[in-house]
Point group: C2
Chain length 342, copies 2
DNA sequence: GTTAGCACTCTATCTCAATGAGTGCTAACA
DNA sequence: TGTTAGCACTCATTGAGATAGAGTGCTAAC
């Protein structure tokens, strides 16, 4: 059985209709909805073929048809028309919040959830493979040092260190000089043992502190590495197919436990559509346990100086792919532009 | 109608039973459960009295009785026996995470939710009415300054400032000196306009920067002031009386929008039980919209150096008050101890 | 290849009766 | 006067038909 033009039109009509209504679609509906001028009986024949090919299925005998994962996939790959959608408020947010990355992400993800009516998530741009800009040690009191670590892209991490030895202001100044001469501009991934050893040697009797600082740098960076912001978890309760207690609980929980979303939001290699930066995972295609009844659309974004993050939308399999993909495309370029010009 | 000993016993039995089962309690059940040796008919008479007094009600004729808000209130005020409950894992968390306040709070709130099976929330200790420890300005590049603000209790805030004028290292050093001499040890609430004016004057041509730094200090402190961590939002789906789509959606949403929880978690004056630091809000007693079907138990805690925060548990009105109050009492003292000894 | 017609299937909805838990009231009892 | 047995009554819940309606697959005619 091969896919011809007419079958494509019919499949498209079925999916479009199902996306709108969420109800199984019958042959009569299609007969009237399309301008093929075919009777319902003819549509029925075609539908039987489409079912045999695995694009649609019946929830039960004597019900209309609903798309299968394969059907959605076909739709997304060949029939989708991503609408370029402006989110008016988004612009303001992007302009205002430029100074506080965290706030900006929170606002973006919230607006995204409100606008799409699906669950939204966004990762803070990853700092991996980026350069240390500078390190600032300050004496807090006799036993504590404050280490402020600034990474290319003005990402700031700080940590309080408990020192074994008492350090006076002068020593702290020296250590600052040493650390910055050695580490400024060095990609984090390139800090290796021999560099550390060299610094420890130069630090002389204070080598212990150097070790602690380096540890703190490593920890500060790796620990908060994948920060995920989410919004609109409760939106999934809007969709009856996800709203039963069992599923909803698991899904909302996954949103709460942001760590579980990591797999979704860390792009792995370049697959299919990834030249556009947008990926669609339908039902069982997802990598995350307990999301088999959902679809996930992710988009990568980049903040000018090499900081990369990912945006994700989680909704029912019958989500409005056109709208979601369009919105993400738009947002993606907005974010890219923003920091290129900012 | 006055409350006598027997009525108290019966009311207690009704509430205890209802807390366990969640089902309306009938007269026969009470007749057998208590050791009063009364027939169900007698119990019925007493129940009619209790209903008239407003402590219990019937969901419909020919159903058993369930406690009213007033009934719960009576229970909590006079009949509750808070069990001192150890949470074994909690100890480890408190010991391990001492260094990273944020992580500690996240772990605590998560364990609390898991242990109680209710929704849990905790505020980061408030920095209000605390003293500035020191301010550190550093030059990031020609146009940007990094301001690190450390508050008593080692709470750190940082901010990147865009400066109008170019500043060399020396100037930054001077500004640092100036800021710290003037502001170190000063309670945040006492920074006023005349102090700022004085500093600006001393800063001479760099007075603009001083203004920006002060703004940043104010902003940094006020903005993230009430940081709320939550966990276990989905636990409310366990309780049928809260699990219908309408209510559940609103409740989980409130959890997501942590800002809305602020009212719950900012103690206002000293009411009823507050000498123990524990407050119980039953049903309509709550201050937050959309939580009329819940009860909320809050406990204040203090981290040694005057930092105060609040822990909250949200559950159905038929929550296990004994357990929750016991757990919070325990946790509260654990937290207090921790930083006193740490 | 397309269509009208028809029997068939299955879900959803409604009604109706039966069940059972629990009550309130009355009259008898200690 | 407080307690209890007994009984009629109420009302939510449950399950069993009965019914309607949507939609299909198949056949035969166009």
């Amino acid at each position: 059985m091969e896919m011809d033009a007419r079958k494509t039109v019919i499949l498209q009509a079925i999916i479009r209709n199902y996306l709108e209504t969420g109800e199984p679609v019958g042959s009569r509906t299609i007969s009237k909805d399309t301008d093929l001028n075919l009777s319902s009986a003819t549509i029925r024949n075609e539908m039987a073929d489409l079912e045999e090919m695995g694009y649609i299925e019946q929830p039960h005998t004597s019900a209309g048809r609903i798309p299968t994962d394969k059907g959605y996939r076909f739709y997304v790959d060949t029939m989708m028309e991503a609408k370029d959608r402006e989110m008016s408020e988004m612009k303001d947010v992007l302009l205002e919040r430029q100074d506080r990355l965290e706030d900006m992400l929170r606002s973006v993800v919230k607006l995204l959830a409100q606008d799409t009516k699906y669950g939204a998530m966004i990762t803070a741009p990853s700092t991996h493979s980026n350069k240390l800009k500078f390190i600032q040690l300050s004496r807090v009191d006799t036993a504590h040092l404050l280490a402020v670590i600034v990474i290319e892209g003005n990402v700031i991490r700080n940590r309080i260190l408990t020192t074994q030895e008492e350090l006076d202001e002068e020593t702290v100044l020296k250590l600052n000089m040493l650390l910055n001469t050695q580490l400024s501009g060095v990609p984090i991934s390139e800090i290796n043992l021999s560099m550390i050893a060299a610094m420890k040697q130069q630090a002389g009797i204070h080598s212990g502190v150097i070790g602690e600082v380096i540890d703190a740098v490593a920890e500060a960076i790796s620990e908060e590495d994948l920060q995920v912001y989410t919004s609109g978890a409760t939106n999934i309760l809007r969709y009856p197919e996800l709203a039963d207690n069992e599923k909803a609980s698991q899904l909302i929980n996954t949103f709460e436990e942001k760590a579980l979303l990591g797999d979704l939001l860390t792009p792995e290699g370049t697959e299919g559509e990834s030249e556009t930066g947008i990926q669609v995972y339908i039902g069982s295609e997802t990598k995350v346990q307990g999301m088999q009844d959902c679809s996930v659309v992710t988009a990568s974004y980049e903040l000018g100086d090499g900081l990369r993050g990912t945006i994700g939308i989680v909704g029912p399999k019958r989500m409005d792919y056109d709208k979601v993909v369009g919105t993400l495309k738009q947002l993606r370029t907005k974010l890219d532009d923003l920091y290129r010009n900012g």
